[in-house]
Amino acid sequence: MSTKYIGQPISRVDGRAKVTGQAKYAGEYNVPNLAYGVIVSSAIAKGRITNIDSTKALSLNGVLQVFTHKNAPRTAERDENYWDEVAPPGSPFRPLQNDKVMFSGQPVALVVAESFELAMYAASLVQVEYKIEQHVTDLDQVRNEAYVPRPREGIDPPAKPRGNPESALAGAPVKIEVEYSAPVEHHNPMEPYATTVLWEGDSKLIVYDKTQGSVNNHDYVCNVSGLSSDQVRLLSPYVGGAFGSGLRPQYQLVLAVMAALGLKRSVRVTLRRQQMFTLGHRPRTIQNVALGAATDGKLQALIHQAIAETSQYEDYSEPVVNWSGELYQCDNVKLGHKVVHLDFCTPCDMRAPGAVWGLYAIESAMDELAYKLRMDPLELRLKNYTERDLNNNKPFSSKELRECYRQGAERFGWSKRNPEPRSMRDDGSLIGWGFATGAWDAMHFPASAKAVLSADGKLMVGSATADIGTGTYTIMTQIAAETLGLPIEDVTFKLGDSTLPKAPVEGGSFTAASVGTAVKQVCDKVRGKLFRVAQTLPKSPFANAKLEDITFADGHMMLTSDPGRSVSIQEAMRHGGLSSIEESADAAPDEAKRSQYTLHTHSAIFAEVKVDEDLGTIDVARVVSAIAGGRILNPKTARSQIMGGIVWGIGMALEEESVVDHKFGRFMNHNLAEYHVPVNADVHDIDVIFVEEHDSIVNPLGVKGLGEIGIVGVAAAIGNAIFHATGVRVRDLPITLDKVLAGVAVPKREILAPAA
């Protein structure tokens, strides 16, 4: 089917607004009489607040209030009121509601003043005294206390064991048993969390908030503060990156609302970069993988167990290990996932939660097994390729992973690889080629949309979803313009507003599918209405036609078989006396169909590293990623998504780590100078291939979503390349130069006597 917009590399429709500064973010709304809140963060990880002395702060002219657990307005009593769409089981954190400190950096006071600078200064004068209790922030220290967490909604617990994994492993002629360790990472989007609450009088609030779910946070505000739904409108039209950190309401939201209600005026609360390290994070995760294989590479046993952290108050968990049971043909499989309580805030979903750690481990282990078998790592994957998901014993709705392997390998030149570690060199550097597989879910959730077509042919479509930089504005505009055959300039998509039809939080790569389906459905309704009106025209060319016979293009409806016979959309509306057509649609996944299949995106990642053997420094010279992600709505924004994922994967492999000082139970490198993510100089050639994949089961659009798949497997591919280059296997992310050097033998040299 030829398309005008869907599948075309349309530039971001919001791009101009963003680069010209017209796009306003939550902390940028200025209104008269705005007050500024600055949060005082806890200096300790665990204990009780015994005293807060705000006297000095309050004595400053212009300081309006210092909210603490003693005087802050009470929010709801029951845990249920704090549960948001993605809350894990437990008792969510409630800012300023009691004297308990549960993590370092927890907000313990909110200073509100007439200016931001004054609030900052006043915050530095607030004296907090604590009764310190012994905290535990070291996962290794308590790993023996790991337990199976209460299941989290929407996340399958590890599949039940199949076969006899232990005895199969014992009997396998070739085996490996290894442990991988991954650190805490923080999302660190460019835009820090911020909320501006506009006091509209009579406890009516307009809340500009940075979030991935305007409905989710709207409902949270109402539930927590006791305001009715229509007293709060929550907007989040632009989000400067979130990566999962905005799936749940962050604490500045409820604090800003609290202050606005308490002071009866507009208040803004913005987090500082350091405070961005006091929010949810990707949990430190230790994984044990055992693989047993026949000498021909056929897997005989696979055991994959993970231990991760959660807070003391919620059971956060991720799908870490399931992928291992789905990716390969193996009859003896055991999977396990446990967590331990640490004195941190609850971890939070972060781009491809679970999968990045799980695939890092299994794809590193497969590489290790390949060397032990003296087998090409790609060959080993193909040897154990599965056409069925053996965890659930279901077919895949589509799986072009084999084609990802083929096209990726060809583009990369994999066949030229010398399999021997340390065998490839260039310009004094060791060269390594590594490979890994990636996978993610193709989820679909109910979502709603509305459409208003005006008599002038302009279309507005809206849904309370978000665009966190992913391209939601653009692809939804494309879908709408395509469906109704309108010029794309005549279509506007609205999002990030709790008064729009409900959509789930934007996350999990399910927005293109979920909201896209709703947009398609609502535009189809408009289409039907236009067609029926066109049929009533005198001498309508469509008198005997059916809707399926009509093509919508260039602002016209026309007979597909005879495009000369057409009616303009505006003409039809004029004739029908319609000043506008308004429709709404509630779209839901076809669960009856979907539930019979496992629905995944897949990828094959090939990486080349250059390692300076003397200094241990690593360059990721190039990455080829071949993606099977269903139908690609926009190759330009899609490529950006995958590239961003790969760049992040480079960071995950080599740089990213939130370092804890367990003495203080505190993340110490809490700024962007010391929390390293890749800079331009770290990123070289990136090549993205979209493998053609048709899927009529996943959803009517055939899209699978691309937000996460780009990052999955990248760290393993790079780690595997580093092993190929150096012969050093680092199983502890990030792979910093000291870890590489520790594995390379230190040449011994004699000390020279001073010259005579």
């Binding site: 530095s124 003397d614 370092v659 000082d661 003495k663 110490m668 700024n671 800079v679 100089a681 910093t736």
Partner: protein, 331 residues
């Protein structure tokens, strides 16, 4: 951040007067470090003396044939200055390996010397730090110390001085010219920064009433044989784990003079003249370089996370010397 007053001065004597009147005042030029420190509540000046209008923004020849770098010339303008590029390329390279383009465009030469450590604990007022609050203890010694010093440390402080530029200036044996209430004086670069000892809160030997007016480079620039090697955790916008400024004067395959300065390993750019002397008259061989590296790092002491720096520094010294020696002689 505290509440402070602000004054702008237009000449050196006014700046000196301001500083002499109020010891809690701070000079501000590019502000690339001071403003961060103020936002973190680490620096709490009650008065900011803006020195940007003082005419110390030129690079000019000195009478002895050297080059005078005005204290208020930006790091970028210094690195890209034609004379600096041609005669002191080691300095250009060191500057350009530091920070980011945006920061170098704001940061000044004097400010580069005055920047403070990037120790995580120094920046976090929730933790003890002898440099920030003398007597509270050093959190880094038994804490997270990946970036910390392995040479010249004390029981009070193991912080490193983060500058790249200053590592080159140490190798080039620059002179820091300062003016205070008691007039002008010249401070040899090696004496400008201090080791932590029992007073880690004092980074430099600059007196509270003194202001840096220029950094003077001696005539000898080692343009033919130099290298600045910075080893770090990412390829830009990261402080050195170890950096080496190597400057050689060669006579064929023989070394006439060698200068080596290390960054990322101590509370100041690290020189070891005895070790440098070992290279005098020696030929360019890996063993000779390794031997010097061993001597320089002989007394190094690691604290856990940073122990790898000892071996890494040796490797970096050897590499930097090799690069410096092998440079094509320029006309």
């Amino acid at each position: 951040m505290n509440s402070f007053s602000y004054v702008r001065v237009r000449d050196v004597s006014s700046a000196v007067n301001e500083a002499a009147m109020d010891t809690a005042a701070k000079f501000i030029a590019g502000g690339t470090n001071l403003i961060d420190l103020m936002k973190e509540d680490v620096a709490r000046p009650d008065r900011l003396v803006d020195i940007n209008r003082i005419p110390l923004n030129r690079i000019e020849q000195t009478s002895d044939g050297g080059l005078r770098l005005g204290a208020l010339v930006t790091n970028s303008d210094t690195a890209y200055n034609e004379q600096v590029e041609k005669r002191y390329p080691l300095l250009s390279r060191a500057i350009l390996s530091g920070a980011s383009a945006q920061l170098r465009n704001m940061a000044t030469n004097g400010g580069n010397l005055m920047q403070r450590t990037r120790c995580y604990y120094f920046y976090d007022t929730a933790t003890p730090c002898n440099k920030r609050e003398p007597g509270t203890g050093c959190s880094a010694i038994d804490g997270f110390n990946r970036m910390h010093a392995v040479l010249g440390t004390s029981e009070q402080c193991i912080a490193v001085f983060p500058s790249d530029m200053c590592v080159a200036l140490a190798a080039l044996e620059a002179i820091v010219r300062v003016t205070g209430k008691n007039g002008d004086r010249n401070i040899p670069f090696a004496d400008f920064h201090r080791l932590p000892g029992d007073t880690p809160q004092i980074d430099t030997n600059l007196q509270p009433d003194e202001i840096i007016t220029s950094i003077d480079l001696p005539p000898k620039g080692f343009a033919d044989h130099h290298a600045y090697l910075k080893v770090r955790d990412r390829h830009s916008y990261a402080f050195a784990l170890v950096s080496v400024a190597a400057a050689l004067e060669m006579d064929g395959n023989k070394i006439k003079e060698a200068r080596l300065a290390l960054g990322g390993v101590a509370h100041k750019p690290w020189r070891n003249r005895e070790a440098e002397a070992l290279l005098k008259g020696r030929t360019v061989t890996p063993d000779n370089f390794q031997a010097v590296a061993e001597v320089i790092m002989h007394d190094a002491k690691g604290f856990g996370d940073n122990t790898f720096k000892i071996d890494l520094a040796k490797r970096a010294i050897v590499r930097a010397l090799k690069h410096a020696a092998q440079m094509e002689a320029r006309s």
